[in-house]
Subunit: 240 residues, 2 copies
């Protein structure tokens, strides 16, 4: 009976992605601080769709296109020439309604571009949509890889814990196939509801605090603040 | 004051080693199942010194040399032509007393060969010597990298938890510098004394069980069963 359940694997860093076969899997891309939280927030607050792009230059090719807004982030900062950034709270804003968001970030869009060719489907996860994603994946009933964006390849707390939170929610319906999934599910469970407080220990907390993004940081740990299921269709992220 | 403490970094997989600068650091190499547990057991039970070698062929060049015993492991099994293997319990044996052990394993000696050129010192850690290593590192007071052997690059439970157990013991005297160190210290603390039971969830448990190595598995989670401090001097691992 157990063998028939679909599986869950967790990849803690893009540098470890080569260890996983993405064929016939739903890949959940996560970059809690802040790319995937921003994607969920934008779609929840009325952005029509999102074009995630890896490079700043590619992002700029959309400049001036009607109903497109451009956003980018490098090293947690907004590069020159962009009006929007990788801040989820910036999209609590009626001006974004119905627009297409073109977004490039340090880590989040990089991992997205690494997985999109091979995966059966790519979905976007963050704490702000964790229950919605869990329900969607349970219904879909296909094996999952949770792919953490990490920070320039370095394993980070926030993405690892999201992977754990999702694995914890799904473990009755899926087999946890690797030790990363098991360890992170347990760590998430032990932390219980203190995600925000716990993550103030993370290296990225101090980076964002120094940049005045403490409110963003707090928002990104509010579970179900933006309960959407963003899925990649062609070049677009859209709500299911 | 806090800034003056030496640091602890944790590297969960050899694939992530490039992210760490080894200069002026003590590197703790860990491969709980079973290379570093075997090294500790062998030295504790009277082996004079150990020559860790990466390749099987290199190991075989020592064949017939007086007072040398040869041991190897690949994919958790003993290759043909070796009398000893990567089993820590095998060294509870008076025949090994005073001998030089030449040892090659799948993951443990690989990570050792990756770090030995750059580190200030290389020491060997496992649950069986965890308090001895912690006391040694505290006295030494130099920044530390805990380098997990993992399983063919894949993050594993047992090495990650050892890293957490060591970081947990040292966190009053060192700064935890990365999220891996913080998460694993907390996970170790939460598991408390149930290391053996907890690790029966690990992927490697079933591999070893299938090979009849369940007693080895149990031994490797007995904290302080072999309280030695193995240090690399030239080509030899010796007790401090």
């Amino acid at each position: 009976m157990e063998q028939k359940l679909p599986g869950i694997e967790v990849c803690l860093s893009p540098d470890l992605l080569y260890q996983h076969d993405l064929q016939n899997k739903t890949v959940v891309v996560v970059d809690v601080l802040r790319a995937t939280s921003t994607m969920c927030s934008a779609l929840f607050h009325g952005v029509k769709n999102i074009i995630p792009v890896a490079g700043i230059d590619e992002c700029l090719t959309y400049r001036g296109k009607e109903n497109h807004i451009l956003a980018a982030e490098r090293d947690a900062k907004t590069p020159e020439g962009f009006d929007y950034s990788n801040s989820p709270l910036l999209y609590h804003n009626p001006e974004v309604f119905g627009k297409t968001l073109v977004l490039s970030t340090t880590n989040g869009t990089k991992i997205l571009s690494m997985v999109k060719g091979d995966a059966s489907q790519v979905v976007i996860g963050a704490f702000v949509n964790i229950d919605a994603i869990a329900a969607y994946l349970k219904e879909r009933n296909q094996s999952i890889l949770i792919a953490c964006a990490a920070w320039k390849g370095r394993v980070n707390m926030e993405d690892s814990l999201f992977a754990g939170g999702l694995a914890h929610r799904l473990k009755e319906h899926f087999n946890l196939l690797d030790d990363s999934a098991r360890m992170m599910a347990d760590l998430y469970k032990n932390i219980n509801k203190d995600l925000y407080i716990y993550n103030t220990k993370a290296n990225h907390f101090n980076r964002l605090k120094a940049l005045g993004a403490s409110a963003d940081f707090e928002y990104c740990f509010i579970e179900n603040a933006a309960p959407v299921v963003p899925v990649l269709h062609g070049i677009y992220l859209v709500k299911v």
